[in-house]
């Protein structure tokens, strides 16, 4: 099924995106695994910000690329497709879009031929009382209101004008619940996708975490989404802290997350990728066998996906 969109920056047919398969979000524990287990992964997702040192707005050069990390990225990109998972666009933020950052993503897009880009439905930059922008230290969610939808849509359109690629928005994990919101999260995501032409990066672990923490039905949540907008799925493990389930990327996926993965994969006709995320500090626990097992489980869902 072709889902086409007409943002100002051009048309990206989400349904025409390449079928990537099963991949993993890059971290420093992975180089050995990627080389010794080539059959386990089809692509790698990278957070570009991890590969450079940001010297700050206005500095020239602003970004120092890190040699050892770049060697790995170049090796990966020469062997398999790479997709960009950004963390600095602050899509729900009110501070001006960081144009230098966007320009760096444009440059990297040309260098590494990212199959698509994504970022999160939250803000990470905020203006202080004195007007200086700074990082929030945590991805902060916003209420699902029309005003916020207008804000996020405008920023996505600006990003899409700059980067000639499909763009996906990732659903939040949120530990707080704003009262009196104008839309549910699925309604917000559906409207955002329809308006901007972006796809969805559905993090089913985030859905699971929110459903546990806020007491809703995770399957009903995903069923309220437009499945044909789901291009990529994130799966991960988590941990509990004082009764709250955290998206700590702590090793293996809980079974309910894998059940959600199966449920969505069987219904999302434009699914192009399933990405396993884990934090490198959990690799000694997960080990190569455990990582292979998670990717095999993802591949089973991929094999049964809707087409």
């Amino acid at each position: 099924m072709a889902v086409e969109s007409q943002p100002r920056g051009g048309t990206h047919d989400l349904g025409a995106l390449p079928e990537l398969g099963v991949g993993v979000l890059y971290n420093v524990a992975l180089p050995g695994f990627l080389r010794s287990n080539p059959a386990a992964w089809d692509y790698v997702e990278v957070i570009p910000d991890m590969f450079w040192r940001d010297r700050g707005p206005g500095q020239e050069p602003r970004y120092d690329e890190l040699d050892t990390w770049m060697t790995e990225l170049e090796w990966i990109a020469s062997h398999r497709p790479v997709i960009a998972h950004n963390i600095g666009l602050s899509l729900a933020g009110t501070t001006p879009l960081d144009e230098q950052y966007v320009a760096k993503l444009v440059e990297w897009h040309a260098r590494f031929d990212f199959r698509w880009h994504s970022d999160h439905l939250s803000f990470v930059d905020v203006a202080s009382a004195h007007g200086l922008d700074h990082n929030t230290g945590l991805a902060v969610p916003m209420p699902y209101d029309q005003e916020v939808l207008d804000l996020v849509a405008g920023r996505i359109e600006r990003v899409r004008q700059a980067i000639p690629a499909a763009f996906l928005i990732e659903n939040n994990v949120s530990f707080i619940d704003f009262p009196d919101q104008e839309m549910s999260e699925p309604e917000f995501l559906n409207q955002l996708a329809a308006r901007t032409g972006c796809g969805l990066l559905l993090d089913v672990h985030n859905v699971y975490a929110n459903s546990r923490n806020h007491g809703f039905d995770a399957q009903a949540f995903v069923d309220a989404l437009e499945f044909d907008r789901v291009i990529e799925i994130h799966i991960a493990g988590g941990t509990e802290l004082d009764g709250m389930w955290l998206d700590s990327h702590a090793g293996a996926c809980p079974e309910p997350v894998l059940e959600l993965l199966d449920h969505v994969a069987e219904r999302a006709p434009n699914l192009r990728a399933i990405t396993f995320e884990f934090h490198e500090s959990y690799f000694p626990v997960l080990r190569e066998d455990g990582l292979r097992e998670q990717l095999e489980r993802a591949r089973a869902a991929w094999t049964r996906r809707a087409r």
Binding site: T94, S128, N135, I176
Partner: protein, 247 residues
């Protein structure tokens, strides 16, 4: 409820991120919401939302995650310095976080904490030993992977300099005893005070951290600081011969 005005959205985000960054502000919103939120230009709905989320268990979780995110770069690159702060670590972190907003890049967070600690030592609020451990750790970082490390002092053209892959640090405690106490989290005030020097050098077998004699440490430190002219000529000759100093 009134519709939120666009101008207030930025204030709402500032208030929300301030809450996430400050359990103290969260408690103020519990106790005295009017004064706690007085500095933010908010619509009635935004204000009601902030008061509501401040009471939710998830706000406590958000505050904890904010602090975990901020302490991670410091423990990653300045673990010994954090340990050297002993019982004052938490208070110093709170003070630092109050003064210095977060930065997404680990290196920038480490740099900001370095600047903060040096200013606290200069003000007499922290002992000089903290700056010495900091210097040692930054030297190790510089030569281990280049992240969050100390830069060599600028040296005039033609002046003596330390070789690029070496750093020298002065420490007022016996270095091995200090490292052992930090590792075992033993009190540092039990260590005898003296004058010691450590040479940090990267070689074929990895990083070496070597206690060195005063006679070697003093001139090396002077040269590293760009003050090679104060070192006697015969000492310079010897140091150049060892390869530690570049003429």
């Amino acid at each position: 409820m009134d519709a939120p005005r666009p101008v207030t959205l930025a204030a709402f985000q500032r208030a929300l991120s301030d809450l996430v960054a400050s359990p103290v502000l969260v408690r103020r919103v519990w106790d005295e919401p009017d004064s706690a939120l007085a500095g933010y230009e908010l619509s009635a709905r935004e204000r009601a939302r902030l008061e509501a989320v401040a009471h939710q268990p998830g706000m406590e979780t958000s505050c904890a995650l904010y602090r975990m995110n901020r302490v991670t770069p410091l423990y990653t690159y300045l673990r010994l310095t954090c340990q050297a702060l002993e019982g004052s670590l938490r208070e110093e972190l709170d003070h630092f976080w109050e003064l210095q907003p977060a930065h997404a890049q680990f290196e920038r967070e480490v740099r900001h904490f370095e600047t903060y600690l040096r200013s606290r030592v200069r003000a007499g609020a922290l002992p000089a030993l903290i700056e010495e451990v900091l210097d040692l750790e930054l030297a190790v970082n510089a030569l281990r992977d280049g992240h969050a490390g100390s830069e060599p002092s600028p040296v005039a053209d033609g002046a003596l300099s330390l070789r690029e892959d070496a750093r020298v640090v002065r420490i007022s405690r016996e270095p091995l005893a200090l490292l052992s106490a930090l590792d075992a989290e033993r009190p540092l005030d039990e260590l005898a005070v003296g004058e010691h020097y450590v040479l940090v050098m990267s070689g074929d077998d990895g990083l070496e951290v070597l206690p060195i004699a005063d006679e070697l440490g003093e001139p090396l430190l002077a040269i590293a600081r760009g003050d090679g002219d104060s070192v006697p000529a015969e000492t310079v000759e010897l140091l150049v011969e060892t390869g530690l100093v570049v003429d």
